[in-house]
């Protein structure tokens, strides 16, 4: 394969990937989590590793006596694992709010109610019922993946 053919094939590769898997921009957040859980490390591990990488950069800057830019700190605040407690009171409050919000996750509560009502006194499953079960299974797998 010469250079031009390789370049053409690389461009086609990206185009084909978008054709088969679609654009990540058109998925909602839950769908993205579902895709991640079936294709490799779950979302929480991905965040932990990104946090560790940026945390190392920030520590390196501080060792050199440089104040880390705000964008680094914003990312660390958002990705900080639940078991790491921030020392700054403002960050601590934000961290606590985020942890509580994730625990309460309104969408999960609503979907659980939908699941219970859908199968109350029911014997034969319709296609829609099976879809609801499939969605519930995906959510459950994601939650198990995140808690591991």
């Amino acid at each position: 394969m010469n250079r031009d053919e390789l370049e053409k094939d690389l461009n086609n590769l990206v185009k084909d990937s978008r054709a088969l898997f679609g654009e990540v921009e058109e998925l909602d957040k839950d769908e993205v989590l579902g895709f991640l859980s079936v294709s490799g490390s779950p979302a929480n591990l991905i965040c932990d590793e990104m946090y560790a990488r940026i945390d190392a950069l920030v520590k390196d800057l501080r060792i050199k006596g440089v104040s880390p830019p705000q964008r680094y700190l914003d990312l660390l605040d958002q990705l900080r694992p639940g078991y790491l407690i921030p020392h700054n009171p403002k960050n601590l409050a934000q961290h606590a709010r985020r942890c509580v919000a994730e625990l309460l996750q309104g969408s999960v509560i609503v979907s659980n109610a939908k699941l219970q009502l859908s199968f109350h006194h029911k014997s034969d499953l319709t296609t829609q019922d099976e879809q609801i079960l499939k969605d519930a299974e995906d959510r459950l797998r994601r939650r198990i993946g995140q808690s591991e």
Binding site: V14, L20, L36, R53
Partner: protein
């Protein structure tokens, strides 16, 4: 506008998740098309590539992203990731060629541990491998499942690239399209057990 201003208010978790998923899509596609050895030789990992793109964007004071012009950060970073991914493949292909030159006269020592992800049964110089069309590979992976075959036809032959268009074309819900894409990712993802991409050579 400073780099801090450009990235103010960004949902980094969402950006990281979407970028990682896009990276996994590209890696799965590349393996399906026969670039598995090039990726293994470049020591590339999809999740690590996504992290590197974000870290580089944060470190670059002159990053060419301007939210004031209505641009999406995710779209911008996906394009950057695609360029970096192509660079990785070029690097892997160069290494393949270099190793072929170095090892032309000698067979690989069977006692040596295998490099992860590298297929040794077929040469890396293109003698035994060929570029595989993703459409054909996807149809093969579908193993006769009508739902998946219909999806491949809609995605590659009918020009329906958006989920809503594909759903309308096939007369199903958008979530059914999502499930079919998920099945393909499971079939083609490097970490999936027994994925069709586990064997095969490359050019």
């Amino acid at each position: 506008m400073s780099a801090d201003d450009r990235f103010r208010g960004v949902d980094w978790k969402d950006v990281l998740h979407r970028l990682t998923l896009h990276s996994r899509h590209l890696f799965a596609t590349a393996r399906a098309k026969g670039y598995g050895n090039a990726l293994a030789r470049a020591c590339a990992d999809p999740d690590d590539l996504a992290r590197a793109v974000i870290a580089d964007a944060l470190q670059n004071e002159k990053v060419k992203y301007k939210p004031s012009k209505g641009a999406s950060l995710i779209t911008f970073l996906c394009r950057v990731l695609e360029d970096d991914f192509k660079d990785l493949l070029r690097k892997g292909m160069r290494l393949n060629r270099r190793l072929a030159t170095l090892e032309a006269a000698s067979d690989r020592d069977p006692e040596l541990p295998a490099e992860p992800g590298v297929v040794y049964e077929l040469g890396d110089d293109g003698q035994g491998g060929k570029v595989i069309e993703l459409r054909a590979f996807a149809l093969h992976a579908a193993k006769g499942s009508p739902d998946l075959e219909d999806y491949v036809t809609a995605a590659f032959d009918c020009g329906a690239s958006k989920r809503a268009d594909q759903a309308e074309l096939l007369g199903v819900t958008p979530s059914a399209i999502t499930n079919r894409r998920k099945k393909f990712l499971r079939l083609l993802a490097p970490d999936a057990q027994g994925a069709p991409g586990d064997s095969g050579g490359e050019e």
